[in-house]
Amino acid sequence: MVKIGVLALQGAVREHIHSIEASGAKAKTVKGVDDLALVDGLILPGGESTAMRKLIDRFEMLGPLRQFAADGKPMFGTCAGLILLAKELVGYDYSHIGVLDATVERNSFGRQVDSFETDLHIKGVALDFPGVFVRAPHIVRVGENVEILATYEDRIVMARQGHLLGCSFHPELTEDHRIMSYFIEMVKESLANKVYL
């Protein structure tokens, strides 16, 4: 059975753990570098990206997280997790893990009173996925190797680049596990490919 980690520095950790287990995979919280070696794929949950980054730096996880991506192990970021994955952030001269070839704008739908729910068409996943957007970012630009999986009012809200997956919204706040199943398939594929290397 594949083992999926959830970066557990802060944020919606238990919802992702629940979703992984409901989708038939093993879940593990990842609090430090040692935990990273034990998982086949990693979820970067929703939360506050600035708070998570401070803790990533304090516990020297930035290099190991970048290595995890460089090793071809799948990563999936939701909301704050998408911000952590992006190579460029609008209004900032730095990025965080910086592996997903995309430019992301933070809080781009407004403040909390503008947070909303809407149904999304997600390519290869669902025609009617419940999208929960909470102070959400969106993807302003993607590189040529990045496939756009969902848009909302002409804004990119979900994209995939090989083994990297990111979305603006929070599938973990719903009981719909189709995106999680999709990510688990990505992890299974990466393990199958490793056999041939």
Binding site: A8, G11, E48, T50, A51, N107, T118, F133
Partner: protein, 296 residues
């Protein structure tokens, strides 16, 4: 045509879910807000005075000047919360119109209504409310609170009341979860709690909203203790900016909240922080100075 719904329970409660495992810090200006954000706070509470100064000042404590909220909202990218008086519909509407991300209907301010709390379900902005037992928690959820915090005793730097309230709420939740459904209506009557909220708790096995700890956290060990006792995160009011070295205390409390069971790490985190805020022994507070007894 896609439908876009704002102010739903899911986006209001979901915002609090994203704060879990984090620290929300009281700040009174842009400079303090930046220190909080740099230390890794998940949100800030913009106030005119921190609770210990509200105690010292006496008189009527009200919603802060909107200028302070605007200054703080302009200084940081993390969510900004603000306090309205219990039952003060108009203060809450003013804060909502300003675009603050969360409103605390707070006993730290002087109540505007000694009978009724806000009907929070009517607002688009989400609310956090204080509680010291499950009856109070369930009534606030029934009114539409999207997040709870155990009250503790604000502005004292003394963790004892925060411990009492968190233990009590969690023990009462466990009792509901293990109770027969036959017994639930009578329990609702005893607690003064809405029956349907208790039924939700029984079915979910937990409170339907996030519950942080508040009111007395002064050290990293205090924050870790509240996480150990089952808090989803912590509010720190006076504990940071009334300590000798706010930057160090803020960072240390954030780190301790994440790694609350890594005791060797907590040794390092707790070292050489300087002097924490001065505490108050609870028995030295007169009845009218106990903020926790405000709220109904």
């Amino acid at each position: 045509m896609t439908i876009n719904l704002t102010g739903t329970d899911r986006v209001k409660r979901g915002m609090a879910e994203m704060q879990k495992g984090g620290v929300i810090m009281d700040v009174i200006n842009a400079e303090q807000a930046r220190i909080a954000q740099d230390a890794g706070a998940v949100a800030v509470m913009a106030l005119e005075r921190v609770p210990s100064d509200i105690r010292a000042a006496g008189g009527v404590a009200r919603m802060a000047d909107p200028y302070i909220m605007e200054e703080v909202m302009g200084a940081v990218t993390i969510p900004v919360m603000a306090k309205a008086r219990i039952g003060h519909i108009t203060e809450a509407r003013i804060l909502e119109a300003m675009g603050v991300d969360y409103i605390d209907e707070s006993e730290v301010l002087t109540p505007a209504d000694e009978e009724y709390h806000l009907r929070k379900s009517e607002f688009t902005v989400p609310f956090v409310c204080g509680c010291k037992d499950l009856g109070e928690a369930a009534r606030r959820i029934g009114e539409g609170a999207s997040m709870l915090r155990t009250k503790g005793e604000p502005g004292t730097g003394n963790i004892v009341e925060a411990v009492r309230h968190l233990r009590k709420v969690n023990a009462q939740v466990r009792k509901i979860v293990h109770m027969s459904e036959d017994e639930l209506m009578t329990e609702a009557k005893i607690l003064g709690a809405p029956y349907d909220v208790l039924l939700q708790i029984k079915h979910a096995g937990k409170l339907p909203v996030v519950n942080f700890a508040a009111g007395g956290v002064a050290t990293p060990a205090d924050a870790a203790l509240m996480m150990e006792l089952g808090a989803d995160g912590v509010f720190v009011g006076s504990g940071i900016f009334k300590s000798e070295n706010p930057e160090k205390f803020a960072k240390a409390i954030v780190e301790a909240t994440t790694h609350f069971r890594d005791y060797k790490l907590l040794v390092e985190i707790s070292k050489d922080l300087g002097i924490p805020m001065k505490g108050i022994e609870i028995s030295h507070l007169s009845a009218e100075d106990r903020m926790q007894d405000r709220g109904w």
